[in-house]
């Protein structure tokens, strides 16, 4: 083939999108911008407050200073309670979410009904915020850490259950077949064919959720769920900013520590 023949045979320009596809893409961009503008408009944001926001922030920081270091002693107990709420809540989550994940995975569920029930519980759990669960459980158990623990668990079950169920659905089915082919019972297949494949995900996700729960449990006290949130809320209401400063610093330290622990454990698992 001569060069000329080549030139005739193949086009000189190549584009990823044809004109129609390009048009659709630009329509999407314009649509997204429109939705954003519309949302901001609907919110009727009082822009006037933005004008002195930096002044207010600086003022708040100044009022937190110097922190009331002695108040730290009063923070320790509620802070420990917060950690306990997160840890026990995560433990309750583990016990409930573990079987639920197997019911909610297509390949390990018993039948369509059990799959639907499992998925329904997971979706319900995830669609309600921890603080809202907190309000509910405070109404049931009264204020205190028990309500907090259940609020944490109620929200986390959906998180852990969903991720583990997805991991179960993605396992290598060849291993499962090999175990089935030995004449193993259903329970044995789950125990040896499925579980070893998802164990890293189960532990990793649990530790990760514990870390999230430490953060979530700090605000549960706002609605009566126990922990540091109770005194944090009252200090804010009393404008005791020097106490608030101490509490924010303490929470920050605990959160950094829990993130470090969680990251280390997850690294060690994989």
């Amino acid at each position: 083939m001569t060069l000329e023949e080549h030139a005739k045979r193949y086009p000189e320009v190549w584009r990823k999108f044809n004109p129609r596809q390009s048009l659709i893409r630009y329509a999407w961009y314009i649509g997204i911008v429109f939705v954003a503008v519309w949302s901001i408009h609907q919110l009727e944001i009082p822009w006037i407050y933005f004008l002195d926001a930096h002044v207010q922030t600086a003022d708040l920081l100044v009022r937190m200073f110097p922190p009331d270091w002695w108040f730290f002693l009063e923070v320790i107990d509620p802070l420990v309670e917060t950690i306990h709420i997160a840890t026990l809540g995560t433990a309750v989550t583990f016990v409930i979410a573990f079987p639920l994940a197997f019911l909610s995975a297509r390949n390990t569920t018993l039948n369509n009904a059990t799959w639907f029930i499992g998925r329904f519980i997971l979706v319900t759990s995830r669609s309600v915020n921890t603080v809202v669960w907190g309000l509910l459980f405070v109404a049931i158990f009264g204020p205190g850490p028990i309500a907090g623990i259940w609020a944490i668990a109620a929200r986390s079950i959906g998180f852990l259950g969903k991720l583990v169920a997805e991991a179960i659905e993605e396992i290598d089915e060849g291993t499962v077949e090999a175990i089935e082919a030995t004449g193993a019972s259903r329970l044995q297949v789950l125990w040896l064919g499925v579980l070893p494949q998802v164990l890293p995900v189960i532990w990793g996700t649990t530790v990760y959720r514990w870390d999230i729960n430490i953060r979530e449990s700090t605000v549960l006290g706002f609605v009566g769920g126990g922990g540091i949130g109770i005194i944090l809320y009252s200090s804010i209401n009393q404008f005791a900013w020097r106490e608030v400063g101490i509490m924010l610093i303490s929470i920050l330290m605990v959160v950094i520590l829990s993130e470090f622990i969680s990251a280390t454990i997850r690294k060690w698992i994989s």
Partner: protein, 275 residues
């Protein structure tokens, strides 16, 4: 020992993978099933332990019709059939020893499995088999730390832990290099012969089949088109199985081939297969 009569498998997609297969094995021999990709080799072998449900026909293993068994009896029948897979299908995160002992699952209760407490006889047998497949000293190695050839040795040992009456082997060497392939074939044939266990072995590599099998069955489009001794495989027979091609370099030569590692089956594909 094994008698398959008029076996038909039609997948839910409507595709007929087996059109009335008749096959019987009356002595402990290694039977190689050859045929092009898509001929129905895997379907045939998987119908025997019902990883794939046969549509019609009967499969009689030592007097029991496998196709008629309920869940419980199927488990009993399955523990008499050892299976070896192309992708090894080990429990990757467990040790070699635990993988071997999983071959005994049909015999031990869940409580023992749960506590990882296997009968002493099984542990003894596992150590012996490790020696015989050439993996002595590897009992505490995790399966995912092994090479392909080593994994397949574990796969072979796991199947033999069942002390099976029949071995079902699906493309045992298709993911291995030529040299390892031949070693694996030698181990399989040796152990099958020594234990007097008949074996059905799918393989698409004709020279490898000829070199190691006692009997060769040719499958094309879901029909058996050849059944005879390895040296009866002539160019005409191969043309019948695989279609027109120049066979002169294949017949009788143990030729090296490069093989590709196939993708693992996904959940959906498996669901369809179970369908």
């Amino acid at each position: 020992m094994l008698t398959i009569t008029d076996l038909v498998k039609q997948y839910p997609t409507g595709l007929k993978a087996l059109h009335g297969v008749n096959l019987s094995i009356d002595e402990p021999q290694v039977v190689a099933i050859i045929g092009p990709s898509g001929a129905g080799k895997s379907t045939l072998i998987r119908c025997i332990n019902r990883l794939v449900e046969p549509t019609t026909g009967s499969i009689i293993l030592d007097g029991t019709d496998v196709t008629k068994l309920g869940r419980r009896e199927l488990r009993r029948a399955r523990r008499r059939m050892g299976m070896i897979f192309q992708e090894y299908n080990l429990v990757e995160r467990l040790t070699v020893m635990e993988n071997l002992l999983s071959g005994r699952l049909g015999y031990v209760g869940f409580w023992r499995t749960f506590r990882r407490n296997y009968p002493p006889d099984d542990v003894q047998a596992a150590y012996q088999l490790l020696d015989r497949v050439g993996l002595e000293g590897y009992e505490n190695t995790r399966a995912d730390a092994l090479s392909g050839g080593q994994r397949q040795r574990v796969g072979i040992a796991r199947a033999l832990m069942q002390q099976p009456d029949l071995l079902l082997i699906d493309e045992p060497t298709a993911s291995l290099d030529p040299k390892t392939s031949r070693q694996i074939m030698r181990i399989i044939v040796k152990l099958a012969h020594e234990s007097g266990t008949p074996a059905l072995l799918n393989i698409h590599d004709v020279p490898l089949a000829q070199a190691h099998a006692d009997r060769v069955v040719g499958l094309a489009d879901g029909n058996i088109v050849f059944d005879g001794k390895p040296d009866e495989l002539t160019e005409e027979v191969l043309t019948q199985i695989y279609g027109e091609e120049d066979w002169s370099t294949t017949v009788g030569h143990d030729e090296d081939e490069t093989r590709k590692r196939p993708r693992r089956r996904t959940k959906l594909e498996r669901e369809a297969a179970a369908g």
